[in-house]
């Protein structure tokens, strides 16, 4: 059974013991140090999480880049830290099918997130060392908070409860903004509340066991429960949750560092942003919702876990990499069992590489069409590369080999205009409309003629044995 983490602290311990966490013991300035360190960590290969023990003017610590490398990502899954990306992808696919694994609801007394309670004189700055992440951001943002909200029409439907990471701008000691984009699940719930001029109760969980953050940033169905997926991805081990204090139908991770409880103020929009977003540029200011925080609960010495975003790749790219790829793979595989793997890691699936067996001539293009009609692929995916089943779509050197030796541009490249698009992709105009690009890098198969048929080079006998021998003798 793979290692499972009850909370962020257990995960940080393992990261540290595996050499994947660095501690900054000297005091840092909130700006620009923490944002700069987030960017710096992302610039390093196989980078560690960075924990700041002392932030000037604040009581508690900050950790960033927790998900920011394939090593950390593998450890999140309880796998060996050097597990290749493709293997992690296949392992996630295997565990995905264990859904649903109902969470374990603990009693309040057993939930570490309830250790301390603040009911009045709410001051976020007392508990969280808030800081500006990128210099043109409109304020201090909480970029990794899992927001829990319920459906006002079906408040007791556990499956309609939503856990999603949405960006949160601190507006005051007890008030924050939230970006609730119309196509996200929280907007469905908010619309129902606002139509009746009612507040929408929410809880924001900060500092979570890593698979909670993973699932909170995964595009799943509205009636699918994120906690039940966490259990599946823990290979069948249920995750622990506890009821929120201010709202009976909301449940938060029992081991979270900090829980902010409150409500979205109905029918109010105030200036929010700018904020540096995942496509590597700032989204400008808009008028967005605000949340009144009425209660904070937190662990002793809470750790503020926050995420850096910048020009890819940064921590957010690792967080969104496989949780975008797996749902797309599952959807395509339903009707096209020949598909071997999907790499949808580039800018949240705007760029995709699919590996497939080519059943008959032209199948590669067909696989691309299927991707472009999935719920996520349709608006997001713009550049789709299809490769043969023996090409690892997570190995870009192999993908470039396939493009350079298997693409005949006059027949293998298709440009399809006037399709749905992703507004945050700055190259789309008007925002929300795209032209799709398909590159079929598969080898021709009948009835497509292949006048230059090749004999691929295969590994000499004993190659696997030699990999083990060299590894065992190799002193690093």
């Amino acid at each position: 059974m793979a290692k499972v983490y009850k909370d962020l602290r257990e995960f940080l311990e393992v990261l540290e013991s595996e050499g994947q966490l660095v501690r900054i013991k000297s005091e840092v300035d909130p700006e620009p140090d923490i944002g700069a360190a987030g960017r710096a960590a992302a610039n390093l290969k196989n980078s560690p999480a960075v924990l700041f023990e002392k932030v000037k003017g604040y009581k508690y610590s900050v950790v960033t880049n927790v998900h920011g490398s394939w090593q950390n990502h593998a450890l999140m899954l309880g796998m060996d830290k050097n597990t290749p990306t493709k293997e992690q992808f296949h392992e996630l696919n295997r565990r995905w099918d264990k859904y649903p694994v109902p969470p374990n609801v603990v009693v309040r007394e057993d939930a570490p997130c309830k250790e301390n309670v603040i009911e009045k004189d709410i001051n976020l700055f007392e508990i969280l060392p808030l800081y500006r992440i990128n210099d043109q951001d409109g304020g201090f943002f909480i970029s990794k908070g899992a927001v829990v909200s319920g459906d006002p029409e079906f408040p007791n439907d556990f499956n309609r409860m939503n856990v999603g990471i949405y960006r949160i701008q601190v507006k005051d000691k007890d008030r924050v903004g939230i970006q609730a984009l119309p196509f996200h699940d929280i907007a469905i719930q908010l619309e129902k509340a606002e139509a009746e001029n009612k507040p929408l109760p929410i809880a924001i969980a900060i500092g979570n066991t890593p698979l909670v953050s993973f699932m909170a940033s995964t595009p799943i169905g509205y009636t699918q429960n994120e906690y039940e997926f966490v259990g599946a991805l823990q290979d069948g081990v249920p995750t622990d949750i506890v009821k929120a204090d201010t709202c009976d139908h909301l449940y938060v991770p029992a081991g979270s560092e900090v829980i902010l409880e409150g409500y979205i103020i109905p029918r109010v929009r105030k200036v929010e942003g700018p904020f540096g977003e995942f496509p590597g540029s700032y989204s400008g200011s808009r008028l967005q919702c605000e949340i009144q925080i009425t209660r904070i609960t937190h662990r002793n010495n809470p750790i503020f876990e926050n995420l850096y975003l910048g020009i890819p790749w940064t921590e957010i790219d690792y967080l969104m990499a496989l949780n975008t790829s797996v749902p797309l793979f599952k959807q395509i595989k339903e009707s096209m069992p020949e598909v071997v793997a999907v790499n949808a890691m580039y800018t949240h699936g705007i760029g995709v590489i699919i590996s497939t067996k080519v059943r008959y001539g032209g199948y590669g293009k067909g696989v691309a069409f299927r991707l472009l009609s999935t719920p996520h692929g349709m608006p997001y995916s713009k550049v789709v590369i299809v490769v043969d089943e023996y090409v690892d779509p997570f190995n870009l050197e192999q993908v470039m080999w396939a493009i350079t030796t298997r693409v005949h541009p006059s027949k293998d490249v298709s440009i399809i205009e006037n399709c749905p698009g992703m507004p945050l992709d700055p190259s789309t105009n008007p925002p929300g409309m795209h032209t799709k690009l398909i590159i079929d890098a598969t080898t021709p198969v009948p009835p497509e003629p292949n006048p230059r048929e090749t004999q691929l080079l295969t590994p000499p006998a004993g190659t696997e044995k030699w990999e083990e021998i060299i590894k065992s003798l190799w002193v690093k």
Partner: protein
């Protein structure tokens, strides 16, 4: 003190540093921009705001009609 983003005078102190007297955070009541006294604020012209720009900002998500 004026807001560095929209030049409004409606600026107030949001909070003092919880530990020591090492910084304060200010907020503009008009455009919601907030900043710390220890920061060197240089807002790019494209992100500056005024009444006209604020009035034209996109609303996310749209506010639904009230149910009867």
């Amino acid at each position: 003190m004026l807001c560095p983003r929209c030049d409004s005078e409606q600026v107030r102190k949001m909070v003092d540093s919880p530990v020591g007297h090492v910084w304060e955070v200010y907020v503009c009541e008009k455009c919601c921009y907030s900043w710390r006294s220890t920061e060197k604020i240089e807002i790019l012209p494209k992100f500056k705001l005024d009444d006209e720009k604020i009035a034209k900002l996109g609303v996310i998500p749209p506010i639904p009609p009230l149910k009867k």
